[in-house]
Amino acid sequence: MNVHTPPEAAPLIDIRDLSMSFAGRRGLLNHLTRSEPPKVIAVDAVSLQIQRGEIFSLVGESGSGKTTMGRALLRLVEPTGGEVYFRGENLLQFSRSRMMEARRDLQMIFQNPYSSLNPRMTVRQTLAEALSVHRVCPKSEIDARVMALLDLVGLGKTHADRYPRDFSGGQRQRIGIARALSVEPAFIVADEPVSAVDVSVQAQIMNLLLDLRERLDLTLFFIAHDLSVVQYLSTRVGVMYLGRLVEVAPRRELFMRPRHPYTQGLLRAAPRPDPRRRSAAVAILGEPPSPMAPPPGCHFHPRCPMATDVCRTTRPALTTIQTGHLVACHHHQAAADGWTGAGHQP
């Protein structure tokens, strides 16, 4: 599957057919019948290129494989197939020590700022550890660096010697961001960084990420389920369903002219904070199928209003239908023609 490459620059991250499957547990029945336990394909041959300076968002519902995708491409779980090129080299073939070095450039911000900070370390210790492990600066400069980092994420000097328990959820997420930034990474995977915080704090964190991207020329791979957050933050968006990428487009294009029936349904399902535009009809019927027994053909066909025979048998390839807009649907043209916007009439 050849995904589009803008001619002007080599991508920072080039993901080719990345796959991640988990073997199910071998149960008694498997022993008795000598059968193989079911396999879950969490990420199914996903190809994607990320340019420097982008905020690429991956959206999907739970079980879509978006978090596994983020972890697999940093080798926090070992992918079962494919390649991930970072600055032209395949990360998946790096030795342990080589990977350790590369992690300085590849950082992660976690969803839960409560469990991803060591409760026994002060903020100063947490940040200093990252700086010294990766030998970012001489020991004598560590303190000054820690202060600069706190300032960068909107925390003050007075916060340095406190423990994670002394902070609110939003402040902890700022600490998590400071830790990721401490080693001056080239690429950050942010896994639902704003979904555990309240809406008033969520806006603070999102604005911080936008500011940091501008100031530090960051490249972000942003994993999210909230489409309005994605609309606000992203430059480009990919939509996942049951391990497969079903649509990729620049932000505005995706939200204005979605071409996959699943993307269209997601946009209609999101509750709009506008009582004048209420929706009456259910956006997508049915439930996502079990990833242990995904339907043949297009995974979305049992819930799709446009499904026909071909959808039940043949997997649609992710194809470029116009520059930068890729979709995996047999009926994308009809879907595009039928789209009248997600806005609801009174």
Binding site: A203, L210, S234, F255, M256, E287, P288
Partner: protein
């Protein structure tokens, strides 16, 4: 419309190591027949505790220390436990956030839906109850209910478990449904299905629904009236239209300007976050509890009480600067950071 549920001056306290916390502070609102009333707020605002206090279900350590909860004219606060039990599930039923945890894992779902019917004498026999359960399961959109009625909760998805919980809530034809974040644990496409189901049932059965949520989108799509809670207080109460088009409390206005739009057509305005974070209930600020975060706060806001007052017909606000906010079209004065922003990101 007559008020089916009339909550007045409700106060709930919880003793903790850091002293007694007032989780719900002098809260009042009415819920009418056939109405969906939203209670919206961030975590720790006390919205769930209001919901639980109505059925006197807060954690055992908590105490209802004041106020009245009139249901059809009867005060639930002073009602003996036995009489309240006769109402629970029968007249007033609850739908909780975590449906999977709410169901007993070792009982078939049908038995659980039937339980309240048999308890309250709605069903005459087990066979009768089973028939009614199957009909209810069909009504809430569970496919092939005849087969599913004997399944255990683990055999259902999260969305289907929530449908089972809704079926159990409807089992005794209650008049009031208390829905505490009923879709927060669900994916957006399933949330959409469950909320549409609730609204349809509410209209068909003329139910009064109290919908507790943190999501302004859920409020906008489903509620007729809304109460906005902050730090244990209702700070604004109005029709959904008015809350969204002309907020009269800076916290409401702040919440609305924090919510990103899903529509690129709405423009690439930079969100205006509310500064700081919600106060610690163990040590709340004096005066208006929102004043340390409020861009409109002045010296008057730092002391005294701020009760809800009617500022326009049917529109209540606890802010003394509600007129200034109304004159500004419900838009808060800009905080120190730049008000404009080049875009949600270059597309």
């Amino acid at each position: 419309m007559s008020a089916l549920l009339d909550v007045r001056n409700l106060t709930t306290r919880i003793p903790t190591r850091n002293g007694v916390l007032t989780i719900v502070n002098d809260v009042g609102f009415t819920l009418n027949e056939g109405e969906c009333f939203g209670l919206v707020g961030e975590s720790g605002s006390g919205k769930s505790m209001v919901c639980r206090s109505i059925l006197r279900l807060p954690p055992t350590s908590a105490a209802l220390t004041g106020g009245q909860i009139l249901f059809d004219g009867v005060d639930l606060v002073s009602l003996p436990e036995r009489d309240l039990n006769a109402l629970r599930g029968r007249q007033i039923a609850m739908i909780v956030q975590d449906a999977i945890a709410a169901l007993n894992p070792v009982l078939p779902v049908g038995r659980q839906v039937a339980e309240a019917m048999l308890e309250h004498g709605i069903a005459t026999s087990r066979a009768d109850a089973r028939e009614r359960v199957i009909a209810l399961m069909r009504k809430v959109g569970i496919p092939s209910p005849e087969a599913r009625v004997d399944n255990y909760p683990y055999e259902f998805s999260g969305g289907m478990c929530q449908r089972v919980v809704i079926a159990a809530a409807l089992a005794c034809n209650p008049r009031v449904i208390l829905a505490d974040e009923p879709t927060t644990a669900l994916d957006v496409t399933i949330q959409d299905q469950i909320l549409k189901l609730l609204v349809e049932l509410q209209k068909d059965l003329r139910l009064a629904v109290l919908l507790v949520t943190h999501d302004m989108g859920v409020v906008a799509q489903n509620c007729q009236r809304v109460g906005v809670m902050y730090s244990g207080h209702i700070v604004e109460l109005a029709t959904t239209q008015d809350i969204f088009s002309q907020p009269r409390h800076p916290y409401t206005a702040g919440l609305l300007s924090c919510v990103p739009s899903i529509d690129p057509e709405d423009g690439d305005r930079r969100l205006q976050p509310i500064a700081g974070s919600p106060p610690d209930l163990a040590d709340p600020p004096q005066g208006c509890r929102f004043h340390p975060r409020c861009p409109m706060a002045d010296t008057q806001c730092r002391s005294g009480a701020f009760p809800l007052r009617e500022v326009a017909p049917g529109h209540f606000s606890a802010c003394i600067h509600h007129e200034a906010l109304a004159r500004a079209g419900g838009v808060l004065p800009a905080a120190t950071s730049s008000a404009t922003h080049a875009g949600g990101g270059p597309a």
